[in-house]
């Protein structure tokens, strides 16, 4: 319900982060990622950010070399999800400082932690950057 999965994919189609909120086998995941990424990468700037795929919608946005794709149910508010993607990017930017693709790759677990603070079980939990980053900063300080 709500969000089904969140993917971060670069322009060559390599997955940089994948978080699924519903169960899919490995083959299904790879097939799904391949199809969706192909569709999104083929679209240009002027086209709208929503793609319909099978029985759900993909909301995507490109930031520099990375595509953020969020798969949602059909009855979800797409514009809100766009906002959410932006919030996610801003949070990561706040933490890593000028976040880029390499940051996410080499600190994958931190990116996951941040995502976990924001989305749980497909629903948005927290929308305040300070609240999200607080546990992570605590953890970094202690280690």
């Amino acid at each position: 319900m709500g969000i089904r999965f969140i993917l971060m994919v670069n322009k060559q189609g390599q997955t940089r982060l994948a978080q699924y909120y519903e169960y899919l086998t490995l083959e299904e995941r790879r097939a799904l990622e391949g199809e969706i990424v192909r569709k999104c990468l083929a679209r240009n700037e002027q086209q709208c950010s929503f793609v319909e795929h099978r029985n759900y919608k993909i909301v995507y946005r490109r930031y520099a070399s990375l595509f953020f794709l969020v798969g949602v149910d059909n009855d979800e508010n797409e514009l809100a999800i766009l906002e959410f993607i932006h919030l996610l990017v801003e949070t990561m930017d706040c933490h890593f400082g000028n976040v880029c693709e390499l940051d996410i790759m080499f600190h994958l677990e931190k990116a996951h932690f941040m995502l976990e603070e924001m989305v749980m079980n497909g629903c948005i939990v927290e929308t305040s950057k300070t609240n999200i980053l607080q546990p992570i900063q605590l953890m970094e300080k202690s280690s």
């Binding site: 709208c48 929503f50 677990e109 939990v125």
Partner: protein, 877 residues
């Protein structure tokens, strides 16, 4: 230091993988790392466990199997260090899912962590639980979660709320426990808790009707107040996005209000003010504002009617629709589809804009706009809208054409005001996108054409013209060929000219030319060529001077490798050569195809494949599997008056003549309307009293044995018969007139008389392993009933066990099977099984018995199946 320890750090491994140039290299690196990790796991290495797990997660993300790391997660979770626990839980959520049994082992750790003093650890556990718990875990840990909903730390509370959502989804019975705590959450100030609390309430309302009632009564006012506070709140830097405080909270609240207000007038009243305020005051120059407006409009549309609010909502949608941003337009189109059910008039006003969207360059917008246009069409605007759509069809791209064509065709079918318009539009569609048109559509077109008798001339001329330009559209060619064949004389003589037409001169040879073209094109498929052949036959009767030339063309297909075409070619050639006397009668103009029954049957019929397998199995009175063309040619030579085969093949042959699609065994979906009409014509032609045509699905015959016996028999039947069910049902009817027809021509009618009451025994079935003999007798006083004693003899050296005999008969026979004498057949004729059958023939004297049999037995516990048909019953039974 252990040489196998995974010395590489995570980032080194990532660097190594990134440095790989090919997929094979990458696989090599990953394999090496996995081997190292596996070795480390076997060693039970504590130090690098979390590093290994991090590597495993990366490898998992790339798509490689990582199940060997699952136990590692558990060990990490059980550790007391926070970083290790963290990675452990993360690994748990990524590498495992709720279906794994390993998850049960975690339950205990989770329980301990839920009671931990460190709130962050509690948070971790809640997170994990909320993401992947299964139903059993949910049940076990629900009380803990309930307790945590009232914890002092708001972060824990919010996570507990989301965890509760998952629990409710997995175990809906527990919903009652959470109603009260959830209501308490709605009064919170902390936004995080508020958002999750609202979501919990929304889910509770969906899960249980009691909860819905409770929240509606108690909490609606509170929610409205909360929304007001949030909307009017001053600048809060933490939650501010583009000038609006926490738009996510806005949206969630609106969603919950929607759920509460739907169907309930009181609740809706309470919301009106705040909805109006949000709708008017929210700024819409930023995406966040638009998101809120979108949600607001959706809520207004769903709750009980309030005229002013609805107008407001539609205005907002109108503004969205003309926004330049594609996202906004997409969202607007989406909403308009829901708005149509509420207020169709208002949406009609935006028709022009929507039509523009159909032609947009963005595929998503086009799709939405097309669906919307489809909903908007009614009788008054169907003509201009269809024109626009067809114009667009010419320039649309391939993927979209299929959808567009289907929609246009159904539009035309539903709303056409007059036949001539229907035909015009369909011709245009066929010329543009005939290859995307489905079979039912052009079948329906033919039905309509045949019904519009005053338009025949116009139609055939229009088709002729269309064929000059668009000969690559298969469906167009088929329809044109059929029409030219039927109404060729109108084409030549310019019959029925309408004022709007330009004059056109077509000579007979032109018409034949174009059909020849259809046959000779290498891209024409089987159906088109078959239809062309029969059109040529019709023309040879209507245009006698071209008969020679037509015969030449037909003869060229005599050696065609496709059975269907070869058969038709030979048969038609035979008709032209030898049977001019019946030719004109055979290919007379078809009577009007009955539109009502066609539409009714089309609407109610099962797909052709299903109908063939279930209904077609045993309806044939003469279940002769269709032989090759030769016997039919012999038949029509009429030099043999051999009794056995004529009736069945003759009837089928006449159906062929009138243009029935004989589908190959692969079930081409050719539910050709002509087949039914064909037999109708046959009946008219011969004007013989026949029983009424059964047009409903007739169930297959009752098999007088225990087990079912459908598909193997059916597949053989399909070869023999046209796939259309109605054609099936009328074949017995068609068969008998055919016999009479033949009787008229042949001087010595083959009267099957057998006056003796003693009938010879026949060997009904013999294979290498089994022989069945039938002995007949007639009980006195009832000429229609025959008693048969079947004797089964084993011809092989193996003993047969579990011997079961089954038989099936066509509809005019009734079969009763007595139990067999035994189930075991000793070897090599050392004994036999006997079984009595009783057959009642309702068409005694007119048709002889025929039966399909199936024998199942076991040799050394291996199943064997034999099937066959018995058609050598003595006549007169």
């Amino acid at each position: 230091m252990n040489p196998f320890s995974s010395g590489t750090r995570l980032r080194d491994m990532i660097r190594a993988i990134r440095a790989c140039k090919t997929a094979a290299e990458e696989r090599g690196v990953v394999r090496k790392e996995c081997a190292a990790i596996r070795a480390a796991i076997n060693e039970n290495d504590n130090d690098y466990r979390h590093r290994n797990l991090a590597k495993l997660m990366f490898i998992h993300m790339l798509g490689y199997p990582t199940h060997f790391g699952q136990m590692e997660c558990l060990k990490l979770i059980a550790s007391s260090e926070f970083p290790e626990k963290r990675i452990g839980y993360l690994g748990l959520m990524l590498l495992l899912d709720e279906r794994q049994e390993v998850l049960m082992l975690v339950t205990n750790s989770l329980k301990q962590d839920l009671n931990h003093s460190n709130q962050y650890i509690v948070g971790l556990a809640l997170c994990a639980l909320g993401n992947i718990c299964s139903a059993e875990m949910a049940r076990d840990l629900a009380p803990e979660v309930e307790r945590l909903l009232q914890f002092r730390d708001p972060n824990t509370r919010k996570k507990a709320a989301l965890c509760a959502i998952r629990i409710i989804r997995k175990v809906p019975d527990l919903a009652e426990n959470f109603i009260n705590p959830a209501a308490a959450l709605l009064k919170e100030k902390h936004h995080g808790v508020l958002i999750t609390g609202v979501q919990l309430c929304t889910d509770l309302c969906k899960a249980s009707v009691d909860a819905l009632e409770y929240f509606r009564k108690k909490c609606t006012e509170g929610l409205v107040k909360t929304l007001k506070d949030v909307a009017n709140s001053p600048y809060a830097p933490e939650y501010d996005i583009a000038g609006i405080t926490d738009p996510f909270l806005h949206i969630r609240l609106l969603k919950l209000l929607r759920v509460l207000g739907q169907g309930d007038a009181d609740a809706s009243d309470l919301m009106n003010d705040i909805l109006a305020q949000v709708a008017t005051k929210t700024e819409s120059n930023k995406n966040a504002g638009n998101a809120i407006l979108y949600e607001c409009v959706e809520t207004i549309m769903s709750i009980e009617d309030n005229g002013g609010l609805r107008v407001l909502a539609i205005n907002i949608l109108g503004r969205f629709l003309s926004n330049r941003d594609n996202n906004i337009r997409y969202v607007a189109l989406n909403m308009l589809m829901k708005a149509i059910t509420v207020d169709a008039q208002a949406v009609q006003r935006h028709r022009a804009t929507i039509l523009e969207c159909v032609k947009d360059s963005d595929a998503s917008i086009r799709k939405r706009a097309l669906e919307l246009v489809y909903l908007l069409i009614n009788e008054s605007n169907v003509k201009p809208l269809t024109k626009e759509l067809i114009d667009y069809l010419e320039v649309s791209d391939q993927e979209f054409k299929g959808d567009l064509t289907a929609k246009i065709c159904s539009l035309i079918a539903k709303f056409s005001p007059e036949k001539i318009w229907y035909i015009d539009q369909m011709l245009k569609v066929l010329s543009e996108a005939g290859n995307f048109v489905k079979d039912e559509v052009w079948h329906a077109l033919i039905v309509v054409i045949s019904n519009a008798s005053d338009l025949h001339g116009y139609t055939v001329r229009a088709l002729y013209r269309a064929l000059q330009t668009s000969v690559e559209q298969e469906s167009l060619v088929r329809v044109a060929v059929w029409c030219i064949g039927e109404y060729g004389d109108m084409l030549i003589k310019n019959v029925g000219m309408l004022d709007i037409e330009d004059p056109i001169t077509v000579t007979e040879s032109d018409a034949v030319d174009i059909i020849e073209l259809a046959i000779k094109r290498h891209t024409s498929d089987l159906t088109t060529k078959a239809m062309s052949l029969i059109a040529l036959l019709k023309l040879s009767s209507r245009f006698p001077p071209c008969s020679e030339r037509i015969q030449d063309i037909i003869v060229q297909n005599r050696g065609n490798l496709v059975l269907e075409l070869q058969q038709r070619s030979i048969e038609f050639n035979s008709i032209i050569q030898k049977h001019q006397n019946i030719r004109s009668a055979l290919v007379e103009r078809m009577p009007v195809l009955d539109e009502a029954t066609f539409i009714g049957r089309r609407a109610g019929s099962m797909p052709p494949t299903v109908s063939t397998s279930s209904g077609a199995s045993l309806n044939l009175p003469n279940g002769v599997a269709k032989p090759s063309a030769a016997p039919l040619v012999d038949l029509l030579d009429l030099s043999l008056d051999d009794a056995p085969a004529p009736s069945s093949s003759g009837g089928d042959f006449l159906q062929d003549l009138l243009g029935v699609d004989l589908s190959p065994a692969s079930n081409q979906s050719g539910t050709n309307q002509a087949s039914k009409a064909g037999t109708d014509v046959l009946l008219d032609l011969l004007s013989i009293e026949t029983p009424p045509v059964q047009s409903s699905l007739s169930p297959p015959d009752v098999l007088s044995s225990i087990q079912d016996n459908k598909s193997p028999v059916a597949s053989l039947e399909e070869l023999a018969l046209p796939s259309s069910l109605s054609g099936q049902a009328t074949t017995p009817v068609g068969a008998s007139p055919m016999m009479d027809l033949l009787d008229g021509f042949v001087s010595n009618p083959p009267k099957p008389e057998n006056n003796g009451s003693v009938y010879p025994s026949v060997v009904a079935f013999e294979s290498g392993a089994l022989r069945i003999t039938f002995d007949f007798s007639k009980p006195p006083g009832n000429p229609q009933t025959t008693s048969i004693q079947a004797t089964f003899t084993n011809l092989s050296p193996n003993v047969y066990t579990d011997f079961i005999f089954q038989a099936a008969v066509p509809k005019f026979l009734q079969l009763h099977l007595d139990p067999a004498s035994s189930n075991t057949l000793p070897a090599t004729g050392n004994g036999s099984i006997t079984q009595n059958l009783r057959v009642t023939n309702s068409q005694h004297g007119k048709k002889s018995l025929v039966m399909r049999i199936r024998i199942a037995y076991k040799i050394n516990n291996k199943d064997v199946l034999e099937e066959g048909q018995i058609s050598n019953f003595p006549r007169g039974l």
